[in-house]
Amino acid sequence: MAEVSLRKVVKRYDDVEAVRGIDLDIADHEFVVLVGPSGCGKSTTLRMIAGLEDISDGDITIGGDVVNDVPPKDRDIAMVFQNYALYPHMTVAENMSFGLRLKHYPKAEIKSRVAEAARMLDIADLVDRKPKQLSGGQRQRVAMGRAIVRNPKVFLFDEPLSNLDAKLRVQMRIEIKKVHQKVRTTTVYVTHDQVEAMTLADRVVVMNKGRIEQIGTPNELYHHPATRFVAGFIGSPAMNFLPCRLEETDGRLHVRLTDRIAFPLPPLRAARYQSVSRNDRLLLGIRPEHITETKPHAEPGVEPFEAMLDVTEPMGMETLVYFGLNEAPVCGRVSPNAGARDGSPLRMAMDLNNMHLLNEATGLVI
């Protein structure tokens, strides 16, 4: 059990900087997920924590000790790989105990630890099989079992679920969460899937182009994204970004989307955005669930408008509708009974109480 911290960690490959100075503190028992698009440096960061990659600059500490030059085996970590990396010639039990056997643990202890991990992961009756005889989900469990038996200071997961089909992924996600609740080992988990990140993490670290964009709890990231990248990356379908300007009409602050459409801002928002320059090119960021059909009782801050639907996607409990506002594509979520049809008009409403205003040039949320 230990905390992990990264101080100005940099990774250079020849002349490319894959990781450009990362500061991160992970508390004991915490489950932290690094998330971002491929090539954002999240895997490299994880591999540097594991010791599989050298650190070009900066420091990594595990449990308070600087481990920059400590070989992986002495860092007291365990890692679960994307393709599981199970030794194909060993049985499940041998796979799980390989690390302990190399360290010459007593046979009895190895046996009890393997048995306990196998029981925890529900693979007790598979321990004599070879990896080839296991399903994807079972292999995943064995890979986790191999990490658990070591009882390390830190668990490292490198996209462990991306080889599984969608249904199994959901199931294993829950499994991982359960295991973490039981063993409470500090965990660093890398994924490109924001749903995985949101559902698993105590805290999510969103990375982009070798840098950290934002660190926060899943809810913080969802409701209070700091940058356009985070706002667009977290949430599915993604947040809409509509070019807009602020203007003063009849003494009220309005956000103008098109020549014909301008919405008055709710009082709280108006107060917050009062100081924003009226000439700045801005983006209105709004999630699809806040663009709906009009309700009979209009709430304050929910502004109606007319939309010409391009495409509708019935999802069952809701229908996704796509239309354009001044060239910008917009996605909204309406009730299946709202009467949305491809190519027909629909009266929509935008909930400006949940809007975000971004500066187009800096990409920062105002």
Binding site: A50, L52, P71, K73, A78, Q82, A85, Y87, L102
Partner: protein, 303 residues
């Protein structure tokens, strides 16, 4: 696998549905006909070895049908298998081949491991060099090698020419490059995560090699072993050059040089000897055909 689907897929577009299966049947019949011809062509020499080996010398020189054994006898086998000289050839061949296999593996496996996993200065050049070495034939090197070993004998007094164990130095030049090359291919196909998992589990380089790589690449190892053994067993030019005394000869050279006495060919014994000489590779092939073929095709498809 399924040429059948290919040939079926074509005519489904055309109208004459019935002719399709007829064409297919004829194509099959022709295939079997030609395959039978080629199989006869392939198997005539070894079968003729067997036929002749079962004949007595009188029948061999008689003007009867050579393709049939009228008076089968095992006298040729009895004669050779009780001959100390022939057993000596067999022993020499076995010793040379087995030791060469061991030497080859001891050199190839660590080298292939280093070349496939540890990128170091000159490693790519060395891998290419290994492949080029594999392409150098024995007939290019036998004269300088012979002279070299003769010189070593003159200078140091250690006589290696005309000793069967000199072949232990020579044969690895034929076996090591190919075995290293295909082991590089097999090792390279092991996912990188597997050694990373081993590193995190606390394995050293040596432990990664012996406890992960060798067991995982075992099929490749078997293929390489078969190759090294069959090449050593079949080698003819080097022993012909390096050994002359009857007690130092290996099987192929022994049969050719001692059973042919001047113009007198004892064909019954020669064919028996040849068959016995061909037996070890054939037996290995019969039992490990898939590994044998994997090794054969690996040179061009791996790496």
């Amino acid at each position: 696998m399924s040429t059948m689907t290919v040939d079926k897929a074509g005519p489904t577009r055309t109208v004459k549905y019935g002719s399709m299966s007829r064409d297919r049947a004829w194509a099959l019949r022709w295939s079997y006909f030609f395959l039978t011809l080629f199989a006869i062509f392939s198997l005539v020499p070894p079968l003729y070895m067997l036929i002749t080996s079962l004949k007595g010398s009188a029948e061999i020189s008689a003007a009867t049908n050579p393709w049939w054994v009228f008076h089968p006898t095992l006298e040729n086998y009895a004669g050779l298998l009780t001959s100390n000289q022939f057993l000596r050839f067999f022993f020499n061949s076995a010793m040379v081949s087995i030791i060469v296999v061991i030497i080859t593996m001891l050199i190839s496996i660590p080298a292939a491991f280093a070349l496939s996993r540890m990128k170091f200065w000159g490693s790519a050049t060395l891998a290419t060099g290994v492949f080029l070495t594999y392409l150098i034939p024995d007939s290019l090197l036998f004269i300088p090698l012979f002279k070299m070993f003769a010189l070593i004998g003159d200078v140091t007094g250690i006589q290696l020419i005309n000793r069967w164990y000199v072949l232990l130095f020579i044969y690895p030049t034929l076996t090591v490059p190919f075995c290293t090359w295909i082991m590089i291919g097999y090792f390279a196909s092991i996912p990188k995560e597997l050694d990373e998992a081993a590193i995190i589990d606390g394995a050293s380089w040596l432990q990664t090699l012996t406890r992960i790589f060798i067991p995982v690449a075992l099929p490749g190892l078997i293929a390489a072993t078969i190759f090294a053994f069959t090449v050593s067993w079949a080698q003819f030019l080097y022993p012909l050059v390096f050994t002359t005394s009857a007690d130092q000869l290996v099987l192929p050279v022994g049969i050719v040089t001692t059973l042919i006495k001047g113009d007198v060919f004892n064909w019954g014994q020669i064919m028996t000897g040849a068959l016995l000489g061909a037996a070890p590779p054939l037996i290995i092939y019969a039992f490990l055909m898939d590994y044998y073929i994997a090794g054969l095709t690996a040179g061009a498809t791996k790496g």
